[in-house]
């Protein structure tokens, strides 16, 4: 479904990653593991079709957004959702945040009409909040939420418009075990819905728990991609083995 082939990305003279290939299919969970600062966030932004690779191709169902016109690229971009390390919620209520992705996909006349509608949250908003266990917070302002709740709202916000691919950038790095468990369960729910999930994490235990496949990103490229059990129990690449065993420290 979403496939990056031979992609490279630099900022000035700094190469973030080079000649990198990764893909995710419908309903599959792929974890990208690697130390902090190795380029996981840049990779996810590239997969989110918001950052053009310097070299290589990113294609969603065979279509390259960077050879398409802007309108077509927007259509492709809207099939991908992303959750950031920080919740980055918008000012307003939980419902308004979760509804954002749905709202921007409506025509302007529908949006203006919805301003005068008194009905409550849309079904998709309620369902998404249900996945992260926050239906009771629907009408609360986001600044009343805890950090963990805010991140769960951020997840629901990306899930609400039913993307084909969901990208998670260290989604639980600042969360307590309970909120982490909620997010990991939500990843499973997204996968069950047929959404392809890519989760970038430096938590190898989390990768083991949630992923069908694991990609190991070290230095400036992916050293190895494979089924989770294979990567953790019998990695083919020596650097992967050292990183997983903790011998390779960054």
């Amino acid at each position: 479904m979403l496939r990056a082939t031979g992609v490279s990305r630099s900022y000035g003279d700094d190469t973030v990653f080079r000649d990198l290939t990764i893909d995710v299919d419908a309903g599959e969970v792929v974890a990208v593991i690697g130390p902090s600062g190795v380029g996981k966030t840049t990779l996810l932004r590239t997969l989110a079709l918001s950052l053009e690779p310097d070299e290589g191709r990113v294609k969603l169902d065979g279509t390259d957004p960077w050879t398409a016109d802007e309108a077509e690229r927007l259509v492709l971009r809207r099939r991908v959702g992303m959750v950031f390390q920080e919740a980055s919620l918008f000012a307003g209520t939980v419902a308004r945040n979760v509804e954002y992705g749905l709202r921007v996909r409506r025509s302007w006349s529908e949006r203006i009409a919805s301003l005068f509608r008194l009905s409550g949250a849309a079904d998709a908003v309620r369902e998404s909040l249900d996945v992260v266990g926050l239906t009771d917070k629907t009408d609360q302002p986001v600044d009343s939420l805890s950090g963990g709740e805010a991140q769960r709202v951020s997840f629901a916000r990306a899930l609400a418009y039913d993307p084909d691919v969901l990208l998670l950038d260290e989604p639980t790095s600042d969360l307590d075990p309970r909120n982490t468990a909620v997010i990991e369960d939500a990843v499973g729910e997204a996968s069950d819905r047929g959404i392809g999930v890519v989760v970038a994490t430096h938590d190898m235990h989390q990768a083991e728990r949630v992923a069908d496949r694991v990609a190991v990103l070290l230095d400036d490229g992916i050293t190895e991609v494979g089924p989770t059990a294979e990567i953790f129990e019998d990695p083919a690449d020596e650097r992967t083995r050292k990183f997983i065993s903790g011998e390779l420290v960054y």
Partner: protein
Amino acid sequence: MPLEPVAQLAPALLDGGAGPAASLLGVSFREGYVGSVIAVSLYVSLTAVALSTLISVPAAVAIGLTEFPGKGFVKSVVNTGMGFPSVVVGLVVLFAVSNQGPLGSLELIFTREAMIMSQFVLATPPITAISLAAVSGVDDGVRDAARVLGGTRVDVALVVIKEARYGIATAVLAGFGRAISEVGSVLIVGGNITSADGISKTRTLTTAIQLEARQGRYETAMVLGAVLVALVLTVNAVVVRFGDRGVTG
């Protein structure tokens, strides 16, 4: 003579100052004079600030959300504009609307419209600069989220405006404060004119205060000053209230 609270004075002043409340102050005004001065002040300043806001806020958002060569220079120019001497602005506008100027055929000299032009020029730099600072201060993560979740440029701009609403409200208030407290340029382009029956044509609160003080009528000048302060406080309260309501949406 001690001044009474402005809230008590305002109805009498708006009636023209001929009623008993005015005599309580020992300050007499011609029928309808103060009301017309307030009306001209508000009409000129609010119109100038509204027009400036329509230009300045989109400009600030566009500059803030776009990377382009010379962005720093543009910011410097906008910031420098905040220090424009108002008398010079008045002179330039006077030249523009005078018979020899490019807008001479419109016959705007000594009109409220010329005063609006002058106040527009003065209010635009602070509204743009403070809005730009507010927009630039919005968390990059929020902007990224607005875009990655499927927003167009307009959607992202709307999110950023909402996040920066307090800063933008401050910018509008700063622009209004600069406009309504302005003396030099409105005196030059407006002429501080009243009609024969004493009703203001281009006289504002500030130019009226300047005239009264120059003629030694300090109590009258102070009453008008209190009215001016009350107006500014009222507009501030309305804008802040509006900004607070915006967060719930």
